[in-house]
Structures are given as structure tokens and as C-alpha cells.
Symmetry: C2
Subunit: 265 residues, 2 copies
């Protein structure tokens, strides 16, 4: 199923939308966080009439299983350049699942001073990287939605050979061949596998408390995304995961940062 | 005036607070963004009964002048480890000024696996750095609230000698001698001067659209903060500013990232 179909929303009344969390977009039974956040962002794009989610922050309140959900939206401010919208995703029973705040605008290229002190993530060509294929359990069904190619140095965790560096570098594309838009970028910013898989620590999973994505321009629709996710600080029961997502034109398309939780001793 | 006094709030009714944006906490007439966000965070600490703003995101809707403001809060979820709260800061006329989403908890030190792939920001000792003293205009009155010492290599912009690297490294402390708490950290994460002052670009100021801070542990109350703020991507009319704030015990206390706007050509 395409991302467009899997994140479809129907308007119930002004500011209220109904959707369906699809099965096969999950990791160990729970919907992928980027997928949830992208659905909430789609509601806000619809509510604001703006095309691109420039900066979106989600706080994840509970694990979410497949099934129907509601998203309510409130346009906090509709300005000339941005609309700021807050929204809640709820179960049909009214239980809050995800709380989101974002500003929406238009990422057409503009003429402004530029300066970049970075190079694209270090990745061998797509064909020299390691594809990740979905299974019923691990790797998760979610991997059927995306084409992913891992840096060979970062791919050993599945066979018990962690790199020791909490970092994942990978190529990303929709498996359906669907064009990548700025909503899809939010999924790309939180796709499996997490950096913690490569850390030499007795930690199997680190649930996301909060995820913020900054979209800087629209990706080339048919481009592979060249991504690096890095964790520099695992301290006091928390870790950040910083993402950089570039397209094949060697342009930064998005940055992401999430705060994830470690099991407490 | 201490930070505690300058960010004081009175409860008007459940979930509604009244405060006062103080003069002399401004930069060119507008209140410092971190100061505003810290006031909104104080309302949420009070509303949630949790002590520490673990992750806080603010979207800045309008410049804010000194004067009375209202903050309303809604506890979205009160869980075991975190309370998630959203809030709006408004003028007394009801105009929205700042929209905030955050999760609050307790940053007592816990026993959990640690790994740090970073060293504290490169700064000479406090006494070898350059103090910034307030004036009526520039440097701004806000600098009377904080003691700041700039890295000598990053301090030339005031005399027209930009370093050419959009980076500011500095020591930070309250000038009043007041103990630094986790709310004060939000101010420290957005204190003047901005990185853009050191870029060789025809840009004088870049207003903040969004600022997220992650607090990782409580700072030593009497410690200088050792901070670095860096911009790596100035593209398509946007720039990020990434902050790292450490204390004198060489522990990471906070990370911040903001998305700021460049004038459009």
C-alpha cells in the first residue's frame, strides 16, 4: 500500500479528521512513529492549506496499534509565510495517542544567502549497500513499505556484530516507487533501525518520547535519500538521535532529532 | 531582577496563569525568546506538578514587548514518568504570542548505561574569555541578566571582525548569582549573540521560528555553563542553530536546536 493511501484522511467536520492506522506499518506490533507523525502532519496540511510541514514536533503518548484513529486540528495562527497548527491523534475511544505542534509553509526554492559546513553522509553506492527485507517479526513488516540499503559497516547488528558506534547510515526510498514528498520525509526521519542497535550496551529498544523534524526543501521525487542517524549522548536514561537526510542532488532536505528513553536501572 | 522574579506567575484559575514580561530582558525591544519559553515552561511545571522540563518546543508567533501576559495550560497526559502539557502565551488582548508543547518529568540522576561520543566545547578558561556588557542598545539590555564570556575567536563580530564561521562558544551564568535550575537552562539555550553574527553573509538577524530544548540532567547550581552554538546549514531561507550546554563537571546538561528564518531575496 502506498504511503499516500496508508496516510489518507477523511474530514468529519471542520478541524476533525478520521484515518486508519494500517497493519504492516508496524515495528513489533506498534505503528512506526514517523508514520503516525506524518498522518498527523497530513491533517495539519489539510487544515492549514499550506503544502509543507516545515517544522513538526510530536510527543508520543502511547504505543499505537492498527485501527481507526481521529485527528483534531487547531490553527493557532495563519500568517503570511507560515501557519502554526496543533493537533491531537486519538483512538476512537478518545484516548490520546500523539500530540503535535508544527508550522507549515511553502518550501519552493527561494533566493537567499547560502552556506553549508557539511558533506553528505558517507555511504557507498546504493547497490553496494545491504538491503533490508521484511519478515513477520524481525526485520519488521514496516520494511515492506520502504526500500532501505544499509551501510555495510552499520548492518552487522542483525547477526550479532554491532559496530560499537550508535550510528545508522542508509539509503531510503518508497518501495512502491511512489514519489517522495515532504510528508513522506517525516517517515524517512524515523524509520527503522534505531542507532541503539549498534551500541555495545545492554539495551534492546529505546522508545521515542519526542521527535522534531525540520524540512528545508522538497526532495527530488525520484531520488534515493542519503541518510545518517547518530547518537552522541547516552546519559541519565536518555539518548538523542540526530538525523540528516540528503537527496541525490547533494542537498540537505531535512534534519531530525528525537529524544528516546532507556530502560531505567 | 532575578530570573525567578522575572518569570514569576500567578494562578488566575485552574490552567490559567498571569505573568509580566519584564523590560531589560529584551533584545532590540523584543523579549528574548528563551526567556519567553522559560516562562511558558514554568506554567507547565506548575500545572503538571513535575519539576523538570525534559523536552520543550516553542513556536514563536509574534515579537513580544514588555507587559502583562497570560499563559493557559492543558495537561494532555499525566503518566508515571512524564506529564505532557501544551500551552499558549497570549497578550491580555488575547493575541497569541507563543505556542508550546512539552513533556515534564524528574531529572534526578538514574542508574542507566552511558556512552558519550563528544568532548565539552572548546573554550579557554572563563577569565581568558571576553565579557559582554549591556548597553541601552547594543549589546542589548538582556545582557544585564546574564554573565557571559565569549571565546576570543568568536567575539570579533562586534568590531566588524566576523570569524567567518557561524559559531558562538561561550560561558554562561546568571549575573545575579542565582542558582541555575532546569528552567533557567531554557534561557541559556537561546541567549544572545546568534551564530549568524559570525557568518560572512549579508544577514543582520534571523528570527526564531521554532526552538526545542532537551534537558538531560540538572546543572550544578553554581556552575558556569560551557556552551557551543553552531550552524551548519544555511539553505533556502532557513538555518538551524544547534546548542550544546555542559556544566563544569563536564556533563552534558542540555541540547537545543532552533530553526531560524533568513530574509528572503
Amino acid at each position: 500500500m502506498s504511503f499516500r493511501s496508508a496516510s489518507r484522511l477523511e474530514q468529519v467536520e471542520p478541524g476533525l479528521w478520521r484515518g486508519e492506522i494500517q497493519s504492516d506499518w508496524d515495528i513489533l506490533g506498534n505503528a512506526n512513529g514517523g508514520y503516525l507523525l506524518a498522518i498527523a502532519a497530513r491533517a495539519r496540511v489539510l487544515a492549514s492549506g499550506r503544502r509543507d510541514p516545515v517544522t513538526v514536533t510530536g510527543h508520543f503518548l502511547r504505543p499505537v496499534r492498527p485501527g481507526p484513529i481521529m485527528v483534531d486540528t487547531e490553527v493557532v495562527k495563519a500568517g503570511r509565510r507560515f501557519a502554526t497548527v496543533r493537533s491531537s491523534m486519538r483512538s476512537v475511544d478518545g484516548e490520546r495517542l500523539l500530540e503535535v505542534l508544527g508550522s507549515y509553509g511553502d518550501l519552493d526554492l527561494v533566493d537567499a544567502p547560502e552556506r553549508v559546513d557539511a558533506i553528505p553522509p558517507d555511504l557507498p553506492p546504493v547497490d553496494d549497500c545491504i538491503p533490508v527485507e521484511p519478515t513477520e517479526t524481525f526485520p519488521p513488516p514496516f520494511m515492506a513499505q520502504v526500500s532501505m540499503r544499509l551501510h555495510p559497516e552499520d548492518a552487522g547488528f542483525a547477526m550479532g556484530a554491532k559496530s560499537g558506534i550508535p550510528r545508522i547510515r542508509r539509503w531510503f526510498k518508497w518501495r512502491s516507487g511512489e514519489a517522495l514528498d515532504t510528508l513522506g520525509m517525516i517517515v524517512a526521519a524515523d524509520a527503522f533501525p534505531p542507532t541503539i542497535f549498534n551500541a555495545d550496551l545492554p539495551v534492546a529498544w529505546a522508545p521515542t518520547l519526542e521527535l522534531t523534524t525540520h524540512l528545508r526543501e522538497r526532495p527530488r521525487p525520484d531520488s534515493w535519500l542519503r541518510c545518517a542517524f547518530t547518537t552522541r549522548f547516552i546519559t541519565n536514561g536518555y539518548m538523542e538521535e540526530d538525523g540528516e537526510l540528503w537527496d541525490e542532488a547533494d542537498r540537505l532536505i531535512a534534519q531530525s532529532r528525537q529524544l528516546a528513553l532507556l530502560p531505567r536501572g
